[in-house]
Amino acid sequence: MANGQHPIMKALRDWPKWLVAGLVLSLLLAPLLALLSQLGGQTQALHWPYVRSLVRFTLWQALLSTLLSAAIGLLLARMLARRSFHGRTLLLSWLDACFVMPSLVVVLAVVMTFRPSGSVGQFLGDGWRLYGLNGILLAHVFLETPLFVRVFLARLQQMPAGYLRQARLLGFNDWQMWRLLDWPAIKPALPSVLMMVFLLCLTSFTVVLSLGGGPRATTLEVAIYQALRFEFDPIQAVKLALLQLGLAASLSLLLLPALMRPLPASRSQQGLRPEGQRLSAYLQDALAWALLLLLWLWPIWVLLSNARWPLLVPLLQDPAYWQAVRSSLLLGLGSAGLTLVLSLVLLGGRGRLALLLSYGILLMPAVVLATGSFLLIWPLNPGAQLRLGLLILLNALLVMPFAVKMLRPAKLALTQAYGRQMQLLGMNLWQRWRWVYWPCLLPNLGQAFGLCFMLAIADLAATLLLATPQMNTLALMLYRLLGSHQLPLAIWLAFSLVVLGVLVNWAVQGMAKVWGAKRYGAGH
């Protein structure tokens, strides 16, 4: 056999992989151990009536957010499946963008639009309150519905053309389409996407922290942060963190394979659906458009239209702003770069190790990880540079599952396509990377880098816990401005965050393209 090797030799050759795996594992476990080691200390007992209402609200808001997003997602997906119109692809890309929009930007848009004096809020009556459940639901629906649209639409469009032809022949009405075709098509995908969104809402931090408005609407994730930051009670925080870990981990365990499955690609319109001309379909689609306008287009327009140029000049002259840009850039580039290196090393072979470790990371809520790291570094009281380094490390870890999720299928496909040839040619690991994986994976690497960068610069949980008060990132600055209701200025910070993300995405993906073309010809 060409690559017949003794297992020990193989393990030795794979040492970088095991080294990185050990590193990731210890980064994951050390904070957990730090949490557990606190438990012996003195503290007040958990206050059960409060914890009960915390858990109740945590589950309740996640459940409502999930069901609402699913319902609206269904409405939108069916509309998109049966209508073709100019800008449909653009709309789909926009919804995808909303899914990765930094939560703080969403929070700002929701506040500006739906506060009682906002352009929509003023029509919602005297009893309307944004802070609390309403605000949390609005932001979660904005962020999570696009995922449902993506999954549902893919399902609807994978329907065999023959089904649609028959349905047209039989003249199915809207209800029959739903009962006989749509529901059976969607049903298999439902449990995993429902649970995934439920998990995302369960561990949502930024949204609840900025829109919760007090103990009435606090989740475990936020209570952990408050126990640490407001009450200086690490042990209380640890207990809550373990509770959250139990809650989130038991849920994630159930759907780990689904979490790591790549998202289905949206396709172009195919096959006419028969129910489109019916009144009920028109009514539903009108509702879908109204919701699209109200929730995904108008709030962003409110942000754009309230941007005031005179505020930009002093901001651009403020050294604190450029310091924030610099730290965000370092944080994003560092985390995305590090996570790609770690993932690539781990993806050696069939990439099962990368998958396994990603599962481990997904089980751990970000605040829990940050709390543990906080306890580890707290006695050392490191300086700003070291803290930024730690933040990069932590965020690299947190975004790793996304990188693995994007890179693993592409790499496996390459192995499948060229594996035999590479073996026949007797290529070693270096040659395989140099001539096959690296050039072919460049576009995927660019995309993964872009997404990881976006996620890392939007991080608030880890940054709030680990940053010193002197430290500044764009996300932190935006969070503070939101808090003190300097909304017009906050808009520019939100723009900065998005523009930085988009620019880096463009740059990296452009670089991947140019590099790929220059070095290896456009053939790939």
Partner: protein, 333 residues
């Protein structure tokens, strides 16, 4: 920029910074966000102090007064802070329990702030005031005249989190002083009146006055003077409550971690000087701690609480956690 130039420029700036640090001592002060905001006293006090100290004053802004103490506790002996500024009389026992306050050696006999502060050797009071709810006359025509009326009303109230903010803690103690064992029921009523609980005074006050949300906001009896003097309006007024008001004395102290206690003491001396005491009332909008400070006329029109509540700092220290739990439970139900 190429890598080498980047490295070079960082080295140069590090050298420059290092040079500056050698030439001028730097004094680090932890305080709450509004103190060093554009409207706060921070900038003027910096000017006053740097003119006399040949040093650089470095403010570190934390959310609110309780956060200042929390941060100090968190960092312990390794803290960067030479001074902490903005915790209050209610947190005095807890601040001392950290073992991180250092005697300042100043003579406080001349201070006119209520209480026997000259006996305290490790803290310096720099202003004081009474907690009160503020309302906007244009938005609310028939404001409540007591806490009981407020709780029975259908108004939307903004207040601060007692775990991070000294006004929030003030309200917690105020409610305790009025309702005693019945405080939990009172908090349940308050929960139904709550628009939002902000983590700092600044956030809550901005929500009320900038975003114009809610009917009442927890602040100080002196807050209307700000609107009168700076904005020329009497739109915002403090509510005079029949049950009385809770008093706050804001404090500053030198940490044991400070390597330049003399300089820090000089800062505290400046803080209670007539010049600084003339700045603080019209920037931090609290009452001065020395007699004879000249105040704008607006201060004459402020409400004068007849009943003033205060609690013993030791009592607060023993019960704060339990009372916070009581508040949490009652308002999360």
């Amino acid at each position: 920029m190429s890598k080498t130039t980047f490295v070079k420029s960082s080295l140069t700036s590090a050298a420059l910074l290092g040079g500056l640090a050698l030439a001028q001592p730097e004094l680090t002060v932890y305080t709450y966000s509004s103190f060093v905001s554009d409207y706060g006293p921070g900038a003027q006090l910096t000017e006053l102090f740097e003119a006399q100290c040949d040093c650089k004053l470095n403010w570190v802004s934390l959310e609110d007064g309780v956060s200042v103490l929390n941060r100090l506790r968190l960092e312990g002996e390794r803290t960067q802070a030479d001074l902490v500024l903005g915790f209050d009389n209610n947190l005095l026992a807890e601040a001392r329990a950290t073992g991180l306050l250092r005697p300042h050696g100043l003579d406080l006999d001349a201070l006119t702030v209520p209480g026997n502060w000259s006996a305290e050797l490790d803290v310096v009071p720099f202003d004081y005031g009474y907690f009160a709810f503020i309302y906007d006359q244009e938005r609310l025509s028939n404001p409540p005249s007591s806490m009981a009326e407020l709780l029975a009303s259908d108004l939307q109230v903004i207040y601060q989190d007692p775990r991070s903010s000294t006004p929030g803690l003030g309200l917690l103690l105020w409610m305790k002083s009025i309702y005693g064992d019945q405080a939990e029921q009172a908090w349940q009523q308050m929960a139904a009146r709550t628009l939002t609980v902000s983590s700092s005074w600044w956030d809550g006050y901005a929500l009320y006055t900038e975003a114009k949300e809610g009917d009442l906001v927890l602040s100080y009896s002196t807050s209307p003077a700000y609107h009168q003097v700076v904005e020329g309006t009497d739109q915002y007024q403090a509510l005079h409550f029949a049950e009385g008001h809770f008093m706050q004395v804001e404090l500053a102290a030198i940490t044991t971690a400070s390597k330049q206690p003399e300089l820090a003491a000089q800062f505290l001396q400046m803080l209670i000087s007539p010049e600084a005491q003339a700045v603080i009332p019209v920037t931090n909008w609290m009452l001065p701690v020395v007699a004879g400070a000249e105040l704008p006329e607006a201060f004459d029109q402020l409400i004068q609480p007849e009943i003033v509540h205060q609690l013993d700092p030791e009592l607060v220290q023993q019960n704060r956690a339990a009372w916070v739990r009581e508040w949490l439970t009652a308002s999360s139900r």
